[in-house]
């Protein structure tokens, strides 16, 4: 874990790390990764990953329309919207 890695993962996370906090973040992340590295000592040959304790495939629902038109309610909680759309800064010049 170094400055370059932290720059990459903060870009992937869409987070900006303030200059004064960078050193502390590098130290914390290094310690955490070092801590979880003990997993590498375990032999997991031929052990299938467990993604979810239920191990069931997501259940499908009957194809019945239950959704209501909540456009107005959803747009109302947006930081910026007009009658039909969420508004964001211009994307295409």
């Amino acid at each position: 874990m170094d400055k370059k890695t932290v720059t990459t993962i903060s870009y992937l996370s869409r987070l900006k790390i303030d200059g004064e906090k960078e050193e502390k973040i590098i130290k914390d992340l290094s310690n955490i990764i070092e801590f979880v590295d003990q997993l590498n000592d375990v032999d997991t040959t031929e052990i299938a990953p467990l993604k979810n304790p239920l191990e069931k495939t997501a259940k499908t629902r009957k194809d019945i329309v239950t959704a209501k038109n909540l456009k107005k309610e959803m747009l109302e909680v947006a930081p910026s919207a007009n009658e039909d759309y969420f508004l964001v800064p211009r994307v295409v010049e």
């Binding site: 992937l12 906090k21 992340l29 955490i32 375990v42 052990i47 467990l50 239920l54 959803m74 800064p89």
Partner: protein, 483 residues
Amino acid sequence: MTIKYKSIKEIKSMISQKEISYKEIIEEVYKLIKENEDLNAFITLNEEESIKKAEEFDNNSSNLPLAGIPIAQKDLFCSKNLRTTCGSNILNNFIPPYSATVIENLENAGCISIGKTNMDEFAMGSSNETSFFGNVQNPWGKNLVPGGSSGGSASAVSAGIVPAATGTDTGGSIRQPASLCGITGLKPTYGRVSRWGMIAFASSLDQAGPMARTAEDCALILNEMCSHDEKDTTSLEDEIPNFEESLNNSLKNKKIGIVKDLDLSSLNNDVVEIYHNSLKEFESLGAELVDISLPNLSLSVPTYYVVAPAECSSNLSRFDGVKFGMRSEDVKDLEELYVKTRSEGFGDEVKRRILIGSYVLSAGYYDAYYKKAQQVRRLIKNDFDNAFKNIDVIMTPTTRGPAFEMGSKGDDPIQMYLEDLFTISANLAGLPAISLPNGNIQNKPIGLQIIGNFLDESTILNFAHMYQNETNWHMYTPEGIKQ
């Protein structure tokens, strides 16, 4: 008549004896909230609506199982028309247009949601020191943490403000604060309670559950919280028993698994002594102790700190300042809108976990960390599956010690992560587990954890209730023993 420190069972009896009106109950709740403002247990109150509901119950008698029972809702459950922040600045202004299934189920059973409780930001923390809305105080002593992440819920029940509250538990967030605040808290089997409308942290681990004064009250609430929910694809369709019915079953010849791989030497001596005293109590109730082996248990914390951050980094990508929540001002383009909003909206611990998650999921590291952790997760679950072939429950201390002072874990995140040493494995394996008070250390409560087999909440509630019939640790309050 007062409802302070009263259980749901006691309040129901006061109502049926006409010793108190519904409105008087709710008015007292708000009086108690004001008297206990220092606890900082609540983020948002629902006073006007709650009084209105209580008046309706006074005017029209009701047969609902929890009619008029005041309940505090963790601020992680979406509540229609009532601000829901998840303890974060990024949701500071969020008023959901719908309610979580848990809230709907409880309100349909008659509960009155009196307010939203403080919590660690996005449920990431074990001391309630990461909330944007400030630390929560443990009613048992000045500057003591209530535990986390359901710290506000635990504190409010412990102070006797409400008989019960909802919590959520991803790695111990119901059981650890229950232990530190001297109350009873249950994390159900993964899939037992709908996650719809719960703000997601780690979707394969998150589960909602009740926090109350007694195991019996936990059973009453769990009866109403559970439902099969089409809106949650991991919601189980298995039959939901009446959890009250088996509370008084005999424990004779029931088998308690004692984990021989558990190293108790690093614990506070008093914790170990209290734990052993509880085991003796269960033996006197007819249960047998059986040594079991969970050889991979010590890998729970490192496994969790790969799986949980990975899922969190994915889940929290929805907070981008576009559709809901806060949006930062003065941005020049869409990219900056995302980055600035997230950087200003999230606190340090949340950022740390998102970064770890992005790291373990990134190209080149996925197999080494994320896949590896999921493989070890299976080994941990296999250990439990093997153990439960011969036993009914497993017992461990809930926490390494009683409540600690705010700020005392320093700024090393791993010290805080180890707080959940005993609780995390139940989340990784999806098993139900309860914490109940089993002793005091220098007038600070601590808890016993009982882990059950898959879908077997009834048995852990049975064990907990029988213990509470014989002992009075659950009767202790910060003001002394309850009369």
